[in-house]
Amino acid sequence: MKQFFYKLCITLIAIPAFCNAVFAQFDVNGTVTSNKGEELIGVTVSVKNTNTGTVTNENGKYSIHVSGSSATLVFSYLGFRTQEKAVSSAGSVNISLEESNTELDEVIVSGLATTVKRTNSANAVAAISAKQLTGITTQSTLDGAIYGKFTGAQITQSSGAPGGGIGIRMRGITSINAPAQPLFIIDGIYIDNSSIAAGLNTISNAAGGGNTAVFDQDNASNRIADIDPGDIETIEILKGASAAAIYGSRASAGVVIITTKRGKNARKDRANVEFTQSLGFQTMLNPQGTREWDADKVAASFGEGEVENFTSAESSGTLHDYENELYGNKGLLSDTRLSFSNATDKSSFYTSISHKSEDGIVENTGYTKTSLRFNLDHKVSDRIDLAVSTNYVKSSADRGYFNNDNTSTTMGISFAGTPSWAQLQADEEGNYPDNPYSAANFLQTRDLMTNNEAVDRFIGGANLTTKIVTNDRHSLKLILNGGLDAYTFQTTAIFPKELQFEKNGNGTNGASIQGTTSSFNDNESAFLVYSFFPASGGFNLRAQAGLTRESFERNTIIATATQLIGAQTNVSQAGSVDLYQFRSKQLDLGGFGQLEFNFNDKLILTAGLRGDKSSNNGDVNKIYYYPKASAALNLAEFAFWGVDNWNQFKLRVAYGQSGNFAPFGSAFTSLGSTIIEGTAGSLINTTQGNNDVGPERQSELEFGTDLGFMDNRFSVELTYYIKNVTDLLLVSLVPSSTGFVNKVTNAAELRNKGLEVGLGVDIIRKENFTWFNQTNFWFNKSEITQLDIPSYAVGSFGATLGTFYIQEGASATQIVGIGPTEGKDTSDNGLVVWGDAEPDFQISFNENLSWKNWELALVLHWKQGGDNVNLTTLLTDIFGTSPDYDDVTQDPDGTLANGPYRLSQLGTTAEVFVQDASYVRLREIGLYYTFGGLNSKTNNTLQSVKVGLSAYNALNFFDYPSYDPEVSNFGRNGISSGVEVNPFPSAKRFYASVTVNF
């Protein structure tokens, strides 16, 4: 590492010393406007293949000095088609840029301190613009806003609970053990995306039976939900190691790089003050209905004794549709944003304040968030640029009480056990009767319990760019970057003692579970970027080297107070208090260097190396190296290329490695604390420590081609990747007669292969009518290529009900279970392979139409295949409350009704629980009308008003027999997404919105 750095540094220092010949020179100036005639501020104007460049001022004017007798000027601007113009003499050159729907003209990240034009990139980096992100409909959370808008991801919303909770898999599963979620970086700041449980297991005992993951089933949200999607200018997604190697040990699950809006991008045609108000509602996405009862059915499912209760309720008209009572709330949605930006020669800023308020489809659930952002750019001098980003967020989510339990107390499970003739309503004094059919009266639970998550968060960072040397041939920049992300996260779960499951010796006589997490992350980096444009032309070179430091600290304390005194919720007002603390601390140090050669945009070669060490590794001072290399060949740039309507033909290949840390504490074998009769004791923890544990290593080879026809009216992006994860971290089971249950080891390899196709078509491109279509297609196949430990089941509730099963030679996400093996694929322990969580393929259609002042945009998303383990139906079957209990559609013999049939299969086969989770859904649709050109002599404040209607998940088509095939009882835990146990049902959202520009 040392050697590498020295060599790089010597190169960096030596090259600027060369002297350069003097050539002819002249000045060019002019104005850059949009095709609508508005002057554009901040357009980059550069002399092709040189280091010379400038930007347009607030009147859209530029002036540039050209060395040599002729040159090509390049005009590029975000959201517009890049234009080139040959110049050979001094004078005025005015340019009109055309707005672009395609992504081909953007710049995308190429190193930790550099970007590259998309046309020159050797990686298929996905990019999402503000227009794609929030332009169609109002978004609830950031991660929910990106699905279907790029290839190569599987994104799963854990439940419909307000406040988010989403897991992302980029290019297949990359880790089996840890919740391997992408690294989020916003304006250079590492963003914490933890999912922190509230400690509900004390009440739900979800881990008491089949699954021992104490904190996984609490349905916690994840912290990227704090980011306001409305502040985002672009999102770039590095899906695999070939692109993400620059982020080394934290990048194996992909990197999401977010750039927020800035004042310097303020456009003349876009007003500086923008106010948006959206109002809407959400309703249950897919109501299941309830079973139609008669006396015989009541007797069969609930016993003869219940018939009388049923008939009397029937005759008195007090049969209830409890699905509607519990999930039928029309939740009001409101989203208010005010943003303001401005730019001068020296400084620019962007500031926004937004307030979001959402009521859930279950009463007393909801989400509010207030976010304040201030971004400042300042030119300290000709050589020094400063960019500062700050963001404060305060949010609060009431998430209800759902998911798996072993006490039948969650609202979902107590609802499942309750027939329509139960009388659960409170009397006039507000006293709720006990639910004789379940452990809980879910209406009482809904009305009296609290499960709140509250966040106070500050995210801030600064970036200082110093041009140390800059002339025609050389430039050397020093880029210093620092950021911090600090938050306090509070969970408040209150189960008052009058709840059915807390009183009279049930439960703990009330519980107040209050958690506080403080999290502080900071990251710093220093980079030198050197660019060299030799006088001979022919190529240019860019080198960068630098160091990074990231530190992460978290401290969680959960106080669980039970045996509450009266109605008190203060944890000290309790007969019994139990404390839990978890602390983690991680320090990573890294170095990164990269060289890029660009042969006149014809051939672009890149090679880089990152080295990382971390306190999370077994050997804390061992440096792990992650190399990368890539090549892009633009055939259409060569002189011999003479195909007029084929303007881009790029072949690209990229290779890179990245890593994933072992979970915190993997190296420790520890003793936990336990208490009996007030005496504390030490009990061995069931995870055996492993001092040899190291990071997972992912190697990805990606190759593909980018094609553009008819000036990019028709574009194709084709990528195939092979991604190998070696040293895969597994929580390998150990024989539990040793007293341990598992240990973390590097013990397997897996491979993902997949294809990604992007197809962009400007179907219609007329002045008053445009129609752009972007079609994305992708699939991924995984295989465990090596397993050093015996095959094992993981991540569900056992083979009777269907479980994931890690086995060499099989798909990493296969679902196996008991059942007749005849004619079926089987696992090595004789179980039947009933399914696979991996979709067969996914397709999304993104349509953008505009006609005069109308705009219509939509995202249609089709996920084909991918199976869930659905236990919701099983539980309603057991209670006899399944809506399709009496239908006869499933029994191959056609004799048993669905309910009895499925129950008869329990213990015989897991087939009925492993269900196809395919869907087609209209993820987003928005229709808008803009009243433009409002400013006149009498009115010089109001510029435009845009009104519209939009919806999220408005139309859904699936056979999956539950609320939503997109679900995860275990949150975003490594492998086990797609397991369903009576979740908070998903919702669809509808909005009306108005945007006013001043």
Binding site: S408, G417, N506, V620, S736, S737
Partner: protein, 446 residues
């Protein structure tokens, strides 16, 4: 220009040197677990406090999910139905509903196994720590620790063996990297017996007092001498299971068997509502709905009972409404534990009297057997035994008394299995099965 050039070169060099130096000089400190004490430290050189923490850890930890063990044993032994709104497998897999079988990788198999062996591991940590500690302890005090550890390890392993039966268990698990083989059922019983004997020998050389405190569940058994009686009671049970009826009596003599004494005298696991402590999860409130968690007596427990048996009245309560789910109906709640802090018995005099009766019967001393049976019958408000006194008839009577005396405590299944009478257990639904043993936990086959 030139000057600037030189200046920037110096600047560059400085920065580069700083960067490179920065990366190399920053050593990352080795981490210690900020959340927990480490195993290595305690095994290498524990303080007395740490040793005592390990003792308490065993006593506390052995209660973890003990209800699952009780449910497993009692449901298969047809003591009661375990209704659960959240998990259907209590009424399907455990009762062998239709084609359902016991799964080697499901909680009812794996959790009790792992939880028991976790205590065995803690026992080994305690034994290693005692061997290596430099704390000022006498040899007697050290023997007290090891005698305790071995006794509790044996008690825990016996529960595992009760579930696994002919699959056997691992007795030698000292080295977690290299655990010993699975032994046959008989060899496993012998291994447990040997461990108890080793513990007993330690206890006999432990002086008058332990250097640690036990819970209130050990009241009367909290000195080396009295704890040794608990050890011998367990040994008597294991010997009985072995079928070595002749060997039982001498062990009972060293135990706390007292034919005239309090039948409830014995060793218990205790619970409390205080902070961090556990509640007795084997307790379910009366009239719990089958949609939540309910434990209701298998109907034959009440219908088979002799009229006037106080144990029936005390251990079951007629429900307001019959419990019904999954085609299983019961009119009675199990009422062995009457609150969520009621203690759970490990062994008590009542069982020892019955062990004595059984051993007497099997060694041909039927009158002594009848005497012992009558002690139990009298305590249950029943008249003296008047049935036949052949060995077979008395065996049935003793099994019946064990059924009512040890109801819902996980004995019935083992007892019927010992006499090859599993076929006599009631079948609730056509197609149900009575299992002989649990499958070996899946992760033991690694």
């Amino acid at each position: 220009m030139k000057f600037n050039h030189i200046k920037s070169r110096m600047f560059n060099t400085m920065i580069v040197v700083m960067l490179v130096a920065g990366f190399n000089s920053c050593k990352i400190e080795e981490q210690v677990d900020p959340n927990n004490p480490s195993l290595e430290g305690i095994e290498a050189n524990a303080t007395v406090d740490e040793l005592n923490n390990l003792v308490t850890g065993m006593l506390s930890g052995m209660r973890n999910r003990f209800d699952t063990y009780l449910d497993d044993m009692s449901v298969i032994g047809r003591d009661y139905y375990r209704y659960s709104g959240s998990d259907p497998r209590f009424t399907s897999d455990l009762l062998g509903k239709e084609s359902a079988v016991l799964d080697p990788n499901t909680f009812y198999t794996t959790n009790p196994w792992a939880d028991h062996y976790r205590i065995v591991r803690n026992g080994w940590i305690l034994r290693h720590a005692v061997a290596n500690t430099s704390a000022a302890l006498t040899a007697e005090q050290k023997n007290g620790y090891t005698g305790f550890a071995k006794t509790m390890q044996a008690q825990q392993m016996l529960n595992c063996l009760n579930m696994q039966y002919q699959n056997g268990i691992r007795i030698d698990v000292e080295d977690p990297e290299n655990p010993g083989p699975f032994l046959s059922y008989d060899a496993s019983l012998q291994g447990i017996l040997d461990l108890l004997k080793a513990g007993y020998d330690d206890l006999n050389n432990s002086g008058d007092e332990f250097n640690f405190i036990l819970t209130s569940g050990f009241t009367g058994f909290d000195t080396p001498a009295t704890f040794a009686k608990f050890n011998r009671a367990l040994a008597a049970r294991v010997t009985l299971y072995k079928g070595d009826f002749a060997g039982v009596e001498s062990l009972l003599n060293e135990s706390f068997l007292d034919m005239a004494g309090d039948l409830t005298s014995g060793v218990y696991m205790v619970y409390s509502t205080s902070g961090g402590d556990l509640l007795n999860d084997a307790y379910t409130p009366l009239n719990s709905s089958t949609g939540s968690n309910a434990r209701c007596a298998q109907p034959s427990f009440n219908t088979d009972a002799e009229a006037g048996d106080l144990r029936v009245a005390s251990k079951t309560v007629l429900r307001d409404e019959p419990a019904f789910a999954d085609d299983l109906t019961s009119n009675y709640d199990v009422w062995v534990y009457k609150s969520n802090v009621d203690p759970v018995c490990m062994v008590r005099n009542e069982e020892l009297v019955l062990i004595h009766a059984e051993a007497m019967n099997q060694t041909g001393n039927s009158s002594a057997a009848v005497d012992a049976v009558n002690v139990i019958r009298a305590s249950a408000g029943l008249a003296a035994y008047s049935g036949g006194t052949t060995q077979g008839e008395l065996t049935n009577e003793i099994l019946n008394q064990r059924r009512y005396s040890l109801f819902a405590e996980g004995h019935r299944w083992v007892d019927m299995r010992r006499y090859n009478k599993l076929g006599e257990l009631p079948i609730d639904r056509p197609g149900d099965d009575v299992w002989v043993q649990f499958p070996r936990p899946a992760n033991e086959e690694l």
